[in-house]
């Protein structure tokens, strides 16, 4: 198979906030960058982020990065790596100012400074009064940031490969990653892109679940590629369920709705978060609020004819606040539920939202994997940033407003390290044809014709298994069944056939390749979850209700090759400040 080859200094997979922030840094430094994205950049899922980005600007209430760091460590249920968290929180303010200079239309305070709103899990003075740390452009912050980053990339003349799908990495015998096999979706033509450095910024995998706030494209492609290239996935058992997805439908209602003063009630009209988090109530961490809602519903205090959701009340805020600060979710409510939150509460239920786990990296964005006795050996030239990566700054539970921050901080960090790497490594390492052929085989397998199951039916079953067996509350038995069912689903995939064999814009083929990625990630998630015998952050075990620091304050690493789990210690030592030791987590 003779496939054309193009060579770049850096190949970036994914054009969301992480990929675009890195691309901008690199293009401005005159590196030759290719950004490959299966959708036009502004369709990437960063566009759907609503509430804002955390940075201790102190525009509204006193604040500093160290308090932000404390909140993030506590929010992570002490599974976050404290060096990376310190790095992120210290960088936050600078990166938000930089975005503002780049043109992001942040909402403004009367003083003309960037508008900030309170979000869950934010405190002053290490667990004191509520902080106001989330910088917002109304409730369309992700849209504003993604478009601005794309716009500045146009100015920097970044090379975009829009609507190209990355199939697999091309490696060599030493395990180095030298490029990727990609497909131009519009024509079906293949292209090998070789690069001295590669950044994986492909985002999350919310399509693992049936009801999700995530877009159709969030299929964890980079994670699947990493698994197949022999790189483990870290902490995949920690999947965030957002407390306020529209019940039964999944559209996201920003945490900013509670930040602006909204609150949750059960069927008795009781503001039930007062029982679960007496101090901060509705602004507790997301894992805490999601569990509370699930318990309310399970114990029969849910709303609606099936008692299967709770209500988010914004009707006391007045139309000015809602129109000014939450216009996007107001549109969503009107469009999908024919209700106006100005006068009617919104039915909500915890909905799959964000994967804390991912491709293991250090705080420079470099991909690391265990090697011999070293738990974290750097894979030279390979980087990951954003939701597909696990630095880990989110640990077992991410704070609202920290994901937009994560993509900016580690998109930039990766780009900085890449520039250093490029200075020292001036030449491409030619890839071995054997590895190109291997990647091609996986792609070509879908050209087999004949009768067989459809991609869609397998994808639907997979999502159902994940929803039923790896949800908010988990037990040994349910997850063991889940593992068996995913195994069974994976054995069906070789018999799936595509009826659409056209080369032109074949979305069925793209979905088939996505399904393979999802199936491997589902296994990583279920296996990691089944093994962790404790409750920490988003991972709640009914059979192990407590956190167990002695046995489980460690990161999971799942490898695809031999379907095994390994563990590595949490980095509890920050860069400069004192460690925050594990404490009981109360809100």
């Amino acid at each position: 198979m003779n496939i054309p080859i193009r060579r770049f200094d850096t190949l970036i997979l994914g054009a969301g906030g992480g990929g675009l922030r890195a691309a901008l840094q690199l293009a401005r430094a005159d590196a030759h960058v290719a950004v490959v994205s299966k959708v036009f950049p502004t369709r990437s899922h960063t566009v759907a982020a609503q509430g804002g980005v955390n940075a201790a600007l102190a525009n509204v209430t006193p604040d500093n990065w160290h308090w932000h760091m404390y909140d993030t460590v506590k929010g992570s249920d002490y599974l976050g790596d404290q060096d990376a968290i310190e790095y992120m929180c210290r960088a936050a303010a600078h990166l938000v100012y930089e975005l503002e200079h780049a043109g992001v239309p942040f909402s403004r305070l009367d003083s003309g400074l960037i508008y900030q709103r309170p979000f869950g899990g934010q405190s002053r003075d290490f667990g004191g009064a509520q902080a106001t740390r989330t910088c917002a452009a109304a409730d369309r912050t992700g849209h504003a940031i993604l478009h601005t980053l794309y716009q500045q990339n146009i100015r920097a003349r970044t090379n975009f490969f829009d609507e190209y799908f990355a199939v697999d990495f091309i490696c060599d015998d030493e395990g180095a990653v030298l490029g990727a096999l990609t497909m131009d979706i519009a024509t079906g033509e293949l292209l090998v892109i070789e690069a001295k450095t590669i950044l994986i910024a492909t985002g999350g995998c919310g399509q693992l679940y049936r009801t999700t706030t995530n877009a159709h494209i969030n299929t964890g492609d980079g994670m699947g590629m990493a698994l197949r290239a022999g790189i483990p996935l870290q902490d995949m058992e920690f999947f965030q369920f957002h407390p306020t997805g529209v019940a039964g439908k999944g559209m996201l209602i920003t945490e900013g709705a509670r930040g602006e003063g909204g609150y949750l009630v059960n069927k008795d009209g009781e503001r039930f978060m007062e029982r679960y988090a007496p101090n901060v109530k509705d602004l507790a961490s997301r894992d805490v609020v999601s569990r509370a809602i699930s318990i309310e519903v399970r114990e029969g205090r849910g709303c609606g004819p099936n008692a299967d959701h709770v209500m988010l009340k914004l009707d006391h805020l007045g139309s000015d606040i809602v129109a000014k600060r939450l216009p996007g979710i107001r549109d969503t409510c009107k469009t999908f539920m024919h209700l106006d939150p100005v006068d009617t509460p919104i039915p909500v239920f915890p909905t799959a939202h964000y994967v804390m786990g991912g491709i293991p990296t250090d705080r420079f964005g470099r991909v690391v994997k265990p090697s011999g006795n070293a738990p974290e050996e750097v894979i030279p030239g390979l980087y990951a940033a954003g939701e597909c990566a696990c630095v880990s700054v989110h640990g077992a539970n991410r704070l609202g407003g920290n994901s937009l921050l994560d993509i900016l901080v580690f998109g930039r960090a990766a780009a900085n390290d890449i520039l250093g790497f490029l200075k020292k490594n001036r030449y491409h390492r030619p890839p071995n044809q054997e590895y190109i052929d291997k990647a091609y085989e996986r792609f070509a397998r879908w050209e087999k014709t004949g009768d067989g199951e459809s991609v869609q039916s397998v994808r639907a079953d997979l999502k159902k298994v994940m929803e039923d067996h790896c949800g908010v509350f988990r037990t040994e038995k349910i997850m063991q069944e889940g593992v068996e069912q995913i195994k069974a689903i994976r054995t069906r995939i070789p018999d799936v056939r595509l009826q659409d064999q056209s080369k032109v814009f074949n979305t069925a083929r793209v979905e088939a390749l996505e399904l393979e990625n999802l199936a491997d990630i589902a296994m990583a998630t279920m296996r990691s979850a089944e093994a962790r015998q404790e409750s920490r952050g988003a991972h709640s075990r009914i059979d192990y209700p407590d956190r167990d620091d002695a046995r489980w304050m460690k990161h999971s690493l799942y490898s695809l090759e031999d379907d095994t789990l390994d563990y590595k210690p949490v980095r509890t030592k920050p860069m400069t400040v004192e460690t925050f030791p594990p404490k009981k987590r109360v809100y």
């Binding site: 369709r43 909402s107 877009a215 159709h216 074949n506």
Partner: protein
Amino acid sequence: MQDFVLDHVKPGMMLREALIELKNQDETLTFRHSCGEGVCGSDGMNINGLNGLACITPVETLTEPVEVRPFPGVPIIRDLVVDMTGFYKQYHSVKPFLIRYDPEPEVENIQTPEDRDKLDGLYECILCGCCSTACPSFWWNPDKFPGPAALLQSWRFLADSRDQAMEERLDNLDGPYKLFRCHTIMNCAYVCPKGLNPTKAIGHIKALMLKHSV
């Protein structure tokens, strides 16, 4: 035209979900879609003669049989998928990015809430292309006329109190095929799924250009 039958329309079903169900019947049916909530701008198409987003168009509101076509006036790649290259090129042509010449402050630029309000109704554009592909001026001169989406973005930066490139932006829009190729037909404002009004923005640019040239 290809016929499809959907047996059961669920209450509240959006056209995107209906198309997905039809694709499950026949996987060769091809269209772009992603977020499902009108934010990513992928699934613009012509629905019973009007451009719109499939994901926020309720099937119940549509007259049957529902006629779904690709955007008019742009090259078709396959089924409902069109080639948007020309549309993006025009977007790029208006320099859709903030330009400042002053040194950067250590903190944010100050912008009053009143100045920031001027960007409402402009920055929310999702580049779905509904407006430009509904515009007869764009159909006639897609290679020369920036079209409503690009001009809306041009005004988004002209209206931004932080931007310092008014003159080059206006110079860039001068000429018979640029700004003044808009004949206020207003299809753009009529079809915009986000409720934005490119015609109004174009009017503001025209006024500014006049003021600037006298």
